[in-house]
């Protein structure tokens, strides 16, 4: 017993010291990675803007029967709280938030609030309906009530092209507003295609590198890695130079007469551009894990297979390929996960038909400022990736994955 406690105290100090050494890194990751991630995910389900600005209106609306326009008390409270919101400059955000539930309400809010400044006394019901007939519409009040929920699944539903109806049921968005599912699906298909192309191109290259004499292998490996040392922008724009309508490849095809000058191929600013450029960018992530696996397979394995009577196909398919599966899995998983969240390349060369879900997330982050929806879209991506990872773990076993 005694010696046991001694051993414990002896190992405690080094362990504390070791923990101390990784603490800065942990803090760094927590601040720059986990915190923003968590924040975005919170954003996607939690939004107190309206609830904070119009608390009493919402309280009254909770007792509202929802069949006809609410009574005077609701109008009076709403008018008071709208004015207050205008004063502390939160009205814009409230209006935007409500507008997302019911498009067209932003101007109703801002204009009515401005006009309400000059209104001294009620009945507010008539006054407000006089200011804007929308106040007489029960949909407006539904929208306010719904936007007043602090926690909402609306953004996730939105991200899946669904919408909550006032009666609490869920319906699909009208056809002209269904974009995200198709985009999500396209992102999946594109990512899968890129993974497949990378595997097809990368497997022979990795094999060549792994079984070349060291000097040549080093050279080839450097060629594979050169893209890593070049700026992503430079790489992507060089594809523009190559692929554009007046670009090198089209010029070449026209010169050798394969296509007419009027039949130049559109190879960029569309899906082709996205596929080509992203495959180029992601290829090393396929080659490196494959290479590291293949290098560990001794060449005598293939000799052994041949001496046992296997032809080259049998030797490859039954001896070589199964042993490279951990590399194939690792490379594919890596490329797929990177592709599914890739942003800059599609943004630069994808045109309008080559955009992926990440471009939509960026749009909501930067342009429409709908961070909640951006968070929801990101959340869905995250769930997909985690699901994929778990699937991989179930089928191949994550501990068999070798990245390099």
């Amino acid at each position: 017993m005694n010696s046991n406690t001694n051993i414990k105290t002896n190992t405690l100090r080094p362990r504390l010291r070791a923990t101390g050494l990784v603490l800065p890194l942990l803090a760094f990751i927590a601040i720059t990675f986990i915190a923003p991630l968590a924040m975005m995910l919170v954003h996607s389900v939690y939004d107190p803007t309206v609830a904070n600005a119009l608390p009493e209106t919402l309280n009254l609306l909770r007792e509202w029967d929802g069949k006809s326009a609410p009574d005077e008390a609701v109008y009076a409270t709403a008018a008071r709280e709208l004015l207050k919101a205008r004063q502390d400059r939160s009205l814009g955000r409230v209006a935007t938030r409500v507008n997302r539930v019911h498009p067209g309400l932003r101007s109703v809010f801002t204009r009515s609030a401005r006009n309400l400044q000059n209104v001294r006394e009620g009945p507010y019901r008539e006054v407000m309906i006089g200011l804007n007939s929308a106040w007489g519409d029960i949909q407006t009040w539904y929208a306010i009530r719904s936007a007043g929920d602090r926690f909402t699944s609306r953004h996730y539903l939105n991200a899946l092209d669904l919408q909550p109806l006032p009666d609490g049921s869920i319906a699909r968005q009208p056809p002209e507003r269904r974009i995200y599912l198709a985009l999500l699906w396209r992102t999946f298909i594109v990512s899968l295609s890129i993974t497949a192309i990378c595997l097809l191109l990368g497997y022979p290259i990795a094999h060549l590198i792994a079984h070349s004499p060291p000097r040549i292998a080093n050279l080839l490996l450097i060629l594979v890695l050169v893209p890593f040392w070049t700026s992503l922008l430079v790489r992507t724009t060089s594809w523009i130079v190559l692929l554009q309508t007046q670009g090198v490849i089209n010029d070449l095809l026209v010169t050798i007469g394969l296509i007419g000058d009027d039949g130049r191929l559109a190879m960029i600013y569309n899906m082709t551009g996205t596929l080509v450029a992203m495959t180029h960018v992601l290829l090393p992530f396929m080659i490196l894990p494959l290479y590291s696996i293949m290098r560990a397979i001794p060449p005598t394995q293939m000799s052994a297979a041949a001496s046992l009577g296997a032809n080259s196909f049998q030797a490859f398919w039954r001896v070589y390929w199964p042993q490279t599966l951990p590399g194939v899995g690792a490379g594919s998983l890596l490329v797929f996960i990177l592709a599914i969240g890739y942003y800059i390349t599609p943004a630069l060369v994808g045109g309008s038909t080559g955009q992926l879900i990440s471009n939509m997330i960026a749009y909501h982050m930067q342009t429409s400022l709908n961070w909640s929806l951006a968070g929801a879209l990101g959340g869905i991506l995250l769930v997909c990736v985690i699901a994929l990872y778990l699937l991989y773990d179930r089928i191949v076993g994550i501990d068999r994955m070798r990245l390099g």
Partner: protein, 369 residues
């Protein structure tokens, strides 16, 4: 020497160069009888593996011809040669079970399930590993992996089996056990075996005949006893077992016997190398053929020697002697009655018969084991 007509494997003037400049294998000729166990023995880099790889079909000879069962195999790819091969690092397929490894050569030959199972079971039985079908190679000990590799090379019943230093990675005890096992399997199946090793002990224990290679050249090919008792080259004398070597010069040739001057002494010895008077030569004599304090006049060669050191080795004693200006002359004497008499530093007489002492080519001592 086997006559040409019962030779199963034949190497004829085989040369091999990887870079087109240096010959790794130079003009090798040998043949293996059906059912024979031939060992290629030689120091590292002597071209043993290269010879084996040419026979298996993984390397092509630069010139010369290799025949199996009378047919030139030059154009035959490895998989069509029907040779069972055991690689130095076993080359078991790590993603298959033991059973899968053994079934592989049968499956690619189109055997059906039932036949596969039966033959795999028989092969495992042969190497005494029954019941381990479902293990993976990495769940086996080194010796067990070795047995699996052997079983895999035998399971499709090839007529010729090649093994490249298959026991190199095993510890001594296991190695001896496996030597015995391989010999037993060879005898019970009657396959022709070409075996590569750099361990002369192993070669002696296992082989019907041994081909000693040095720098891509066969120095001597003979039965183990003959190789030990009657080395024809100084390299063989040095490589196989322990040998005393004295450098000298031929002073007189008299039929089979010639006189050689070494360290100021004249020694009579058996003429093996085709030497003439005046040629440099190496005398070779086994330590156990040296008699200490022999009856005067019993041996033709009698010399004075100083005892530098005596090592007691249980059943025999090793004397390190200063003879003919050599300080490393060894004599091995059985531990019989009355040997306590000689002490370190004593001056003694030693002797041997001329037929135990062989006149060989001069030794350039360049490569060692």
């Amino acid at each position: 020497m086997p006559s040409k007509d019962n030779a199963y494997v034949e190497f004829e003037n085989v040369c091999k160069s990887y870079d087109g400049r240096t010959l790794i294998v130079q003009n090798v000729n040998f043949s293996v009888r059906k059912g024979e166990f031939l060992t290629l023995l030689g120091p590292s880099g002597s071209g043993k593996t290269t010879c084996l790889m040419m026979l298996a079909g993984f390397e092509t000879p630069t010139s010369g011809d290799i025949r199996i069962d009378g047919r030139s195999v030059h154009a035959l790819p490895p998989r069509k040669r029907g040779i069972g091969m055991v690689f130095q690092n076993y080359a078991l397929f790590p993603h298959m079970t033991v059973g899968g490894n053994l079934a592989f050569p049968l499956e690619v030959r189109g055997f059906d399930r039932e036949q596969c199972r039966e033959r795999v079971a028989r092969a495992l039985d042969l190497v005494r590993l029954s019941g381990l079908e479902d293990r993976r190679p990495n769940q086996l000990s080194g010796g067990q992996q070795q047995r699996v590799a052997i079983a895999r090379a035998l399971v499709f019943e090839p007529d010729l089996v090649l093994m490249d230093e298959p026991l190199g990675a095993l510890d001594r005890r296991l190695r001896e056990e496996m030597q015995y096992e391989i010999r037993r399997i060879h005898q019970s199946l009657g396959v022709t075996m070409v075996y590569v090793t750099h361990d002369q002990q192993e070669a002696m224990v296992m082989s019907n005949r041994i081909a000693v290679l040095r720098r891509g050249d066969i120095e001597q090919i003979a039965e183990p006893e003959a190789l030990y008792e009657e080395p024809e080259r100084s390299f063989v004398a040095r490589f196989i077992g322990e040998n005393n070597r004295l450098q000298g010069r031929v002073t007189k040739v008299n039929g089979d016997i010639c006189e050689v001057e070494t360290g100021g002494q004249i020694i009579q010895a058996l003429r093996i190398a085709p030497c003439q008077v005046g040629d440099a030569t190496t005398l070779s004599i086994r330590p156990e053929r040296v008699a200490i304090e022999p009856e005067p006049g019993l041996y033709t060669n009698e010399l004075e020697a100083k005892v530098e050191d005596i090592t007691f080795l249980g059943d025999h004693l090793r004397f390190r002697l200063n003879v003919c200006e050599s300080l490393e002359f060894i004599a091995k004497i059985p531990n019989t009655v009355g040997h306590g008499a000689v002490l370190k530093g004593d001056k003694i007489r030693i002797g041997w018969t001329p037929t135990d002492c062989r006149v060989l080519d001069p030794d350039d001592e360049e490569d060692t084991t």
